[in-house]
Symmetry: D3
Subunit: 292 residues, 6 copies
C-alpha cells in the first residue's frame, strides 16, 4: 500500500527556464529509458514475485523510490516551461522564421496540449508504452532487464547533464545519476545473492540442461561468407562464461532443404495462379519438410 | 551486405498441425522477447558500432543468424496452420459454440488477414514495435540489453517447449533454446572482454565518477514507512559490486519542500478560478523551489 | 515524495483460480478505463498544478490511492493464474481441441511471457499507452476527464462483477466500485468548488467570450438531409446550460466553395499528369479560397 | 448513410502560409483532442446506441458535422504548407543551420511523406490511435467523455488562436471555438435530459446501490503520511454531489497483510533459487491472502 | 461538407447472433484492411488533392461511401453481440471451462468495455492506427495504395463470407465484396486515365530519369549465394514493364568496403573500452568510407 | 538461410555531416515508406509462399537485398551525426535560442538515446510498426502492396534527394532511387507473369464471381447531394478495367431503414434512462433491421 507527503526527494531548481531542455527531459520521464518504465517494472515484478519474500520487499522499496523520481522530473519540466507561452507570443508578432526556431526546439504539445506541464511521452512526443514493462517470472532474467534499464537510463542522464549549463538542472541530474549507479550495483547484487553468474546461467536455470542440440552448444556461428573474417574474441574460444563448456567457431551451414508449404487452402481465396501446381496433400507437405 | 540460400538453418517439422500453437509461436517472432527484436537489435548495434572493429563483426554474425531463426519460426507457423480453414469451415456448418472454441485458441488474423501464414505480431496480435530495438552507443549497456533479450527469449522458448507435445516442434525449440544459451554466454563474454564487471561499472564508465551526490551513493533507499521491515540482502551491506563503495540502508526522507509552480500563463487559457491567487512572478516561483 | 508498506489497501481473495478471469482483470489494470491510467493522470495533473495549492494536494492523495488499486488488481491476477500451467500441461497431453479452449479464454502471454503474473496491458494484450494520461493545464477540462475516467472505470468494474461468481473477487470489486463512485462525486465536487457548471462553461472560461461566430453560437447543426427528421431534445431549444444563450436548430449549409489547392510543388515529385493544368500561382490559390 | 457536397462548412483562408503552424494544426486533426477522435467517437456511439432513438439521431448529426471540421483543418494545413518546399530548397543551397531552423518548426513528414498535405497524425507526427474512441454503452459515461473531448478540444483551439496572427486562421479558429462551446452545452444538455446530475450519479446508475463497502463510501482517502496536511475542500465535508451521502476524510490504513503468492510453477521455468522455499500449496497460498 | 440520413446503404440482417463473428467483423472495421482506413485514406487524399479537380471530386464520392460501410459493419457487430451478456452469465453460473470457451471466441472488450457494440479496433482488439492512412501527394502512388487496400479488403471479406453461414451476414458481405471489386476497377481506371502503366512508371514520373545508377537499372539482383538457383521469370529477362529497358540478372556483389565510424564522441559517454583505439578524426573517418 | 560479409552494397559517403538530414533519413529506415518495412514484407511473403516455388525464391532475393539497403542508410545516419554532440556543446555554452535551433532540426533521441546512430523509428521518432508488414496469402494483393511500397518509397527518396546538396548523399540516393524503379517494374512483372491485369481482377480471382449484388456492380456511387456535380472520368463510363462490365454512375440512395438495436442488456449496466423504452425483444429487433 502506498503513501505520500508533499515534499520532493531531492531539490529541483531551474535557474533559467529552457523549453528546449523541457523537451529533452521528457525522455527521462516517458521514454523507454525513463522513470515510468522502471517504476512500473519494479512494482509489477514485486506484485508478481513468487519465492523468497525478500525480493518482493526490495522491489517495492525501489519501485516506490522511482515514483519520487518521476515527480522530480515532472516538476523540472514545468519549471523549464515557465514563460514559454509569453515568449512564443512575442515571437509570433514578429517574424515567422523565428517562431519556427522556437517551436523546433520545443515539444509543441507541451504548449498546446498540456499547458506547460510534463506528459507521459518521450522527447519526440511518442507516448509511454506498457510493453516496455518487463516481468518474466524469472528473477535472473528480470535482474538483467533491470541492469539494462538502469544502464541506458544512466547513459541518458549523463547526456542530459552535458546538454545543460543550468546549475539547478545539473544538480538534479547528479542526484539521478548517483541513484542509477547504485541501482546497477543493486540488481547485480541480487544476481550475486542468487549464487552469482555461474549458478544462474543459462537463464532459466531450471530447464533441464540435457535438452539441447549439442552441435550448436557454445558455438559462435559465423554467418560471414568469408569465414576467415571472423576475428578472435573472448566468445570464440576458451571456457564459456557459465563454466560448463568451451567456446568454438562454427560456420553457418544449411540444416534443412527449402520448405514446401504446398498449395493454398481453397477457401482462403488466393489467386487462381497459385493453385496451378501439384498439391501433394497436407501429410506429404509436412513430410517433405523433414530432413532425410 | 547480405546473402541467402533457400535452405533453413535447422529442420522444421510439424507432425500434427495445431493452429493454437501457431498463435503461441508468434510471441517468438514479433513479441518483445522475439527474434525480430534481437535480429534488428544486433544489426542496428553493429551498424552504429564505434570503437574496436571486432564488435561490429561479431554483432553482424549473430544478427544475421537471427534472420534465419525468424525464417524457421515463420515456417513453423505456416505448417501449424495447414488445414485450419478447412477445419473451421466444417465447424461453422455445425454448432456456433464450437466455432468459438477453435477461434479462441487461434489468432483470427492468421486466417482472415494473412491466409495461414506468420505475421510481424506477438501472440495477442499486437504488432512488433521498433521501440524495442535497443542500441545506446554504449557497448556495456547494450550487452546487458542483449543478455536480457536472450534471457527472456530463452524463458519464452522453454515455456513453448512445455506447451507442445509435437516431436518436430520440440526438436526445433531445443535448437533455439541451445542458441539462446550460447548467446547469453556470448554477450557476457563481451563484458568480460571489456574488462569484466568491476571495470565496466557503473555504466557508462566514462562519466566522471566525482560527479555525484555522496549521501545517496551505494545507499539502498528504503521507502517502507516502517524501516524495520527492510530485510538484509546482498544489497544492504558489504562491498558494492563495482568494488568502489559499501552498501548501506538509508530511509527515504524528504529533500525539498512542496514545489510551487505559480499562476498559469494567461494565454494558456486555464480556468478563471486558477488565476485567483497571488502570482509571485516567475523569479520568485523558481526561487521558492530552492532549498534554504 | 512516496512511501509504501507491505500491506494491501483491501483484502484480495480468490476462492477458485480462473485464468480466464485473470485476462478480464487486465482491462482494469492496463486498459484505457484502468487504474494505471487514472493513477498517472491524477499524479501528472498534481505535478503540473498551477494556481491554488489545495488541488495539488488532493490530486496527490487520490493518485497515490490508485497505486494501491493497481497493486490489488495485480495480486488478483496472480492468484487467478495459480495452477494455470499445470492445467495446461495436463491438457496438452490429451486432445488439442481442449487446449485451444483453455488458451482461448486466457491471455497466452500471461503464461508464456509473464510467468503467471499481471502485465501492463489490457484484456486483449494491447499495451498501456501514455497518450491516455490527460492533463490539459485547465482544471475544469481535467475534472471532466477525471469524471469520465471514473465513470467508464465503474462501468467496467460492474461488468467484471457480473462475470464472476467467486466470492473473493466480488468482494474486491465491490470495494473498487465503491471507490469509483466516491471519485465521481469527488471530481464533480471540485467543479462545484470552482463555482459550478454555469461559471465554468464554456471551458476554458478565460478565453474572451466575444471572440466567436454568432450565427453558430448555441446552434444545434442538423446534418440530416431531411431536416424534419431532427427530433426535439433539451439541446434544440430552451436556455443553454451555461445560461448565456438559447438553443436553436440550424440546418447544415455550405459556408465556402470548393477549395482550390493549385498545382503540386515541382520539387515534391507528383505525377506529371498532376502538373498539366493552369497554375494560378500561390497568391491566387489562396485568394480563391476566400468567400466573396 | 452519408452524403457530401464540394463546399466547406466555413471559409478557410490563409493570408501568409506558415509551415510551422501547419504542424500545430495537426494536433487538432489527428491528436487525442482532435477532430478525427470526436468524429469517430460520436459516430460509434450513434451506431451502438440502444434505448431511446433521439440519442442516435443527435449523435449522427454532430458526428457528421465533425467530418466537415476535419475537412476544414486539412484544407488549412495544405494552404499553410504552400511554398514550403521552395523555401526549403533555397535554404539548403545556403547554410545548414538555417535548414535546421526551418525543419525544426515543421513536421518533416509533411514535406517528405505527404507532399505538403495533412496526415492522420498529431503535432509530433504520432499517428491517430483508435483507442481514443470512447463508447461504453452507458450514455452518461459517454456524455462525460464527450464533454471532456470538447473541453480539451476548445482549450487546444484557443491556444492555436493565440499562436497565429494570420487573420484567416484566427477566423477559422473562432468558428471551431464557437462550435466547441456549443457542443459542451449540448452534451451537458443530454445529461440534463437524462434527469440531471443527481439522478445519473453514480455512473452506471443501474448497478444495485446496496452493493458497496460502506466504510469507503463518500470517504476522501488521505494518503498523506501527515494527515494534518489534508486541506478542506468541497470534497472533504458536506453533502455529496449525488445528494445520497456526506463527504468525510479517512486516513489510508492497510486493509490486508502482505500477499503471499507461493512458489513459482515448476513448468514456468523460474530460477532454481526461487524454488528453494517452503511451498504451502495452492490452497494454502490462497487462504493466506484472506484476512483473519 | 458532409450530410447524412438515418438509413443504411444496404440492409444489415443477422439471423442468429454470434459474438465470435462480431469479433471477426472488427477486422473489417478497425483493421489495416478495414473501412476506417479506406474512408480516411480517400478523404485525406481528396483534401490534399492538387492538380486536376476531377480527382478530388471522385475521392470525396468514394470516401463518403466508405463511411456508410463502417456504419453497416458497426450495426452488424451490435446485432451479432445481442444476448452475449446473458449467455455469458448463464455460463458463469455453471462451469468455468465453458466460460473460457465463450470468452475465447469473443473479444472480451466488446462485453466489458463497449457494452456490446463495435469499437475502432481490429479483430485482436488492436486499435486503428493513423499511420495506415496513405496519401503521398503523388496520385499514381496513391492509386496503387488504394488498389492494395481494396484487394486486401476484398480478400478479407471473402474469408469472412466463408466463416459464416448466417444468411443476412452473407448477404451484407456480398454487397461489400461487390463494392471492393468495383473500387479495384475504379482505382485502376484512374491509372489508365493518367495515361496507363507505361506513362506512369516509374513513380514518381516527374523525377529526372537521367539521375540513376545505370548498372543497377532493370537489374534483378540475386542475393542467392548459389546464383544458379535463380529461376527464370518475367522479371529476369525481356522488356521491362515501363518499356524503357531490358530485365537482366546480376549477382549481389559488394560495392563498398566495411564502413569505419571511428571513435565515439567523448561527450556521448560510451564505455572507456570503446575509446581505446586510434581515432583518425572526423574527416578521415568520412574519407575512409569513400571507395577508391 | 542468411549470410553476410562486411562490405556495403553501394558506397556511402558524407562530405559534410548534417544532423538534420540524419533525422530525415530515418523516414527511409523506420517509416512506413522505409526499408525495414519492405525488407520484412518481402521476407514474410516468401516464408508464407504457397503455390509455385519461383515466387518464394524471388521474394527471398529482394527481401535480402533490402537488408543491405537498411545497412547503407544506417551507416549514412551515423556519418551525418558525426560531430553533432560537440556542436551542441559549443552552442549550449552560448545562447539558449541557438540550442533550440539545432535541436529543432535534429531528432533529440539520436543524441540522447542512441549515441549518434540510427534507430528503428521514422523521421518524427515514431517507432517502426509491425502492422505495416503486409502479406495476405494472395499473391496479386501482395504485389499491389509491393508496388505501393516501392512507389511511396521512391517518392520519399526523390524528395530526400532534393533536400540535400551533399554529393555523397545524392549519390547514395540515386542508387536507392534506381533500385526502387526496378522493384516497381519487378512486382508489375509478377502481375504480368500471373496473366496480367485482366486475369487477376478482381482480387482474389478465386472467389466465385456469381456471388455479388448486381445493382452495385461496376457502379460508381456518387455520394454528392448534387448528382450533376459528378464529373466524367474513365471510371464513370466505358468498359471496366477487368473487361467484364461497363462502368456507370448511380446516385447514393438509402438501402435500409434506421437500424433498431433495442434496449441495452440489463447486465451491461447502461443508465436507467436507456432502459425506459419498449423492448421488442431480440428477435423483433433483428427482424426490424430487415427490409420489407
Amino acid at each position: 500500500m502506498f503513501y505520500h507527503d508533499n515534499s520532493l526527494q531531492y531539490k529541483v531548481r531551474v535557474d533559467k527556464p529552457n523549453p528546449a531542455f523541457a523537451k529533452l527531459l521528457q525522455q527521462a520521464i516517458g521514454g523507454i529509458e525513463g522513470e515510468i518504465r522502471v517504476c512500473l517494472q519494479y512494482l509489477f515484478q514485486a506484485w508478481g514475485s513468487r519465492g523468497p519474500k525478500k525480493y518482493r520487499d526490495m522491489l517495492l522499496d525501489t519501485g516506490t523510490e522511482e515514483i519520487s523520481h518521476i515527480e522530480m522530473l515532472c516538476t523540472a519540466v514545468a519549471l523549464n516551461l515557465d514563460g514559454a507561452t509569453n515568449e512564443l507570443k512575442d515571437k509570433v508578432a514578429g517574424e515567422n522564421p523565428i517562431v519556427s526556431n522556437i517551436l523546433g526546439g520545443m515539444d509543441p504539445r507541451q504548449v498546446i496540449s498540456s499547458g506547460l506541464t510534463a506528459m507521459a511521452v518521450d522527447s519526440n512526443g511518442v507516448p509511454f508504452n506498457g510493453s516496455w514493462v518487463v516481468g518474466s517470472g524469472n528473477i535472473a532474467a528480470d535482474m538483467y532487464a533491470n541492469v539494462m534499464a538502469e544502464s541506458t537510463g544512466r547513459v541518458l542522464a549523463t547526456r542530459l547533464y552535458e546538454l545543460t549549463d543550468d546549475f539547478g538542472m545539473k544538480d538534479m541530474l547528479s542526484f539521478l545519476i548517483t541513484r542509477d549507479a547504485m541501482h546497477q550495483n543493486q540488481w547485480l547484487a541480487v544476481l550475486e545473492d542468487l549464487g552469482g553468474v555461474g549458478v544462474n546461467l543459462p537463464i532459466p536455470n531450471t530447464f533441464p540442461t540435457e535438452i539441447k542440440v549439442p552441435e550448436f552448444d557454445y558455438a559462435f556461428v559465423s554467418t560471414n561468407i568469408d569465414q576467415s573474417m571472423t576475428q578472435d574474441g573472448r566468445w570464440t574460444s576458451g571456457s564459456s562464461i557459465d563454466g560448463k563448456g568451451e567456446f568454438r567457431v562454427v560456420p553457418a551451414v544449411p540444416g534443412a532443404p527449402t520448405p514446401d508449404l504446398g498449395m493454398p487452402d481453397v477457401k482462403g481465396y488466393a489467386q487462381a495462379q497459385q493453385m496451378s501446381g501439384e498439391d501433394k496433400g497436407l501429410l506429404e507437405n509436412i513430410k517433405d519438410t523433414i530432413l532425410p
